[in-house]
Amino acid sequence: MEPTLTYEEAYRELAAIAREIESESVPVDVLAQKVRRASELITWCQARLRTTETEVNKIISQMDKQP
C-alpha cells in the first residue's frame, strides 16, 4: 500500500470501486484486479481504524486515570 495514503483517500477509492462494481460496469477482465485492490484497501482501512481506536482508547483510559 502507498505510504502516503490517507484513510479518506483509501475510502474514496474503495467507494469508487464499489460503485463501479455495483453498476456492473467493470469488465470481467479487470474484475479480479479491482476486487483485489478493494480487498487490500478494506484491510488497510480496517487496520488503520483499529490502530487509531486502540490508540484513542489508550488515551481515554489514561485520561480517566487522572483525577
Partner: protein, 324 residues
C-alpha cells in the same frame, strides 16, 4: 462615635453615599456609568478567567474574614490549589483610605498576572464600612484592570466598592465559594468536553466501520453476481453448443448412413444376391452382347457360384419381362 445619634448619622451617611455615587458617574464617564440595577464599570466588563488560581487578597491581617476566606479555599472539596498573595492593610476607618489605595497600586505594580483581586473584611460596625464608600477607592476599583471580587461582610446596603467591583459577594466565605464554583464550572465544562470527545470518537469508529462493512459487502455480493451471471451465460452457451453440435453430428451421420445404405444396395454382392449375374469374357466383365459371339466361352458369376458356359445362340430381346 459616642454621643452621636446613630439614626441621624446613618441618614447622613446614605446622603453622602448617594452624592459620592453621583460624583463617580459624573467625573468618570469613561469607566463608570449607570446601568440597569446599578452601575456599569470597566472592571465589570473584564472577562473573569475560567480558572481563578492566582489571587491577590487585600485584607486586614488579623481579621476573621481573612481567616474564613483562606480556610474555605484551603479546604475546598475538589482539591483545587491556589496561589494567594496577601496585601495586608487596615480595611476600616476613613483615615486609612490612602493605605488601602496604595495596597491596590502594589497589586497593580507587582507585575503578577493575577486572575482576580479579592477585597475582604469581616465584622465591625456599620460605620466601619465607610472606607468602602470612599470616592477614591470606588474610582480605583471601577478602573482596575484585574477583576475585583469583594467579600466585605455587610448586612444592609452594598458599599460603593461592591457596586464598582466585578463580582460583589456578601462575605469572605462567599467570595471563596464563588471562586471555587467558578473553577468547578470550568472543570465541569472540561469534563463535558472530554465526555463528548469520547462519545464522538466512538461514534466515528462505529460509523466508519459500518461504512467499510457496507462497501465490503457490496463488493463481495456484486462481484459474485457478476461472476455468477457470466457463469450462467457460459453454461448456457456451453449447453447450446453441445446440443447443436450433437444435432449437427447426428444429422451428418444420418446423411452418411443414407449414402451407405444406397451404396450397399448398389453393391455388386447385393445385386448378385437379388438374382443378377455378371458375365465375363476374355477375363473382362462385360455388359455388351456384341462382345459375346456364338461359340465363345464365357464365365457367368453368381453371388456364390461361377459357371463356365459357351454361347450357343444369340437373338434380339424386347426386354418386357421386367416391366413392373
Amino acid at each position: 462615635m459616642i454621643g452621636i445619634d446613630s439614626n441621624f448619622t446613618l441618614g447622613q451617611l446614605e446622603q453622602q453615599r448617594q452624592a459620592t455615587l453621583a460624583r463617580l458617574v459624573r467625573e468618570n464617564p469613561d469607566f463608570i456609568w449607570p446601568a440597569a440595577g446599578g452601575y456599569g464599570t470597566k472592571n465589570k466588563q473584564l472577562p473573569l478567567p475560567g480558572v481563578i488560581q492566582h489571587i491577590a487578597v487585600i485584607a486586614s491581617r488579623t481579621s476573621a474574614g481573612w481567616q474564613d476566606f483562606h480556610h474555605t479555599l484551603d479546604n475546598n472539596p475538589f482539591g483545587y490549589a491556589f496561589r494567594i498573595d496577601e496585601y495586608f492593610t487596615v480595611v476600616q476607618g476613613e483615615n486609612n483610605t490612602q493605605q488601602f489605595l496604595s495596597r491596590l497600586i502594589d497589586v497593580f505594580n507587582s507585575g503578577n498576572s493575577y486572575d482576580a483581586v479579592v477585597i475582604i473584611r469581616g465584622g465591625g460596625a456599620q460605620t466601619d464600612f465607610l472606607i468602602f464608600d470612599d470616592y477614591m477607592i470606588g474610582k480605583a476599583i471601577a478602573k482596575f484592570p484585574i477583576p475585583v471580587i469583594t467579600g466585605i461582610g455587610h448586612q444592609k446596603n452594598e458599599t460603593i466598592a461592591d457596586l464598582m467591583a466585578h463580582t460583589p459577594t456578601k462575605t469572605p466565605t462567599k467570595a471563596a465559594e464563588f471562586i471555587i464554583n467558578q473553577n468547578r464550572s470550568f472543570e465541569d465544562s472540561v469534563n463535558r468536553l472530554r465526555q463528548n470527545i469520547v462519545i464522538r470518537a466512538q461514534q466515528q469508529f462505529a460509523d466508519n466501520n459500518k461504512a467499510l462493512n457496507r462497501v465490503n459487502n457490496t463488493i463481495i455480493n456484486k462481484s459474485r453476481t457478476i461472476l455468477g451471471r457470466q457463469q450462467e451465460l457460459l453454461t448456457s452457451a456451453k449447453t447450446s453448443l453441445l446440443i447443436h453440435s450433437n444435432n449437427y453430428c447426428r444429422n451428418q451421420k444420418k446423411y452418411l448412413d443414407h449414402f451407405v445404405s444406397i451404396i450397399k444396395i448398389a453393391s455388386p454382392e447385393n445385386t448378385l444376391r437379388r438374382g443378377f449375374a455378371i458375365i465375363r469374357s476374355n477375363n473382362k466383365i462385360t455388359g455388351n452382347p456384341d462382345d459375346l459371339t456364338v461359340g465363345k466361352d464365357i464365365e457367368i458369376i453368381f453371388a456364390n457360384k461361377e459357371i463356365t458356359a459357351t454361347v450357343t445362340a444369340k437373338k434380339d430381346y424386347d426386354g418386357t419381362d421386367f416391366n413392373l
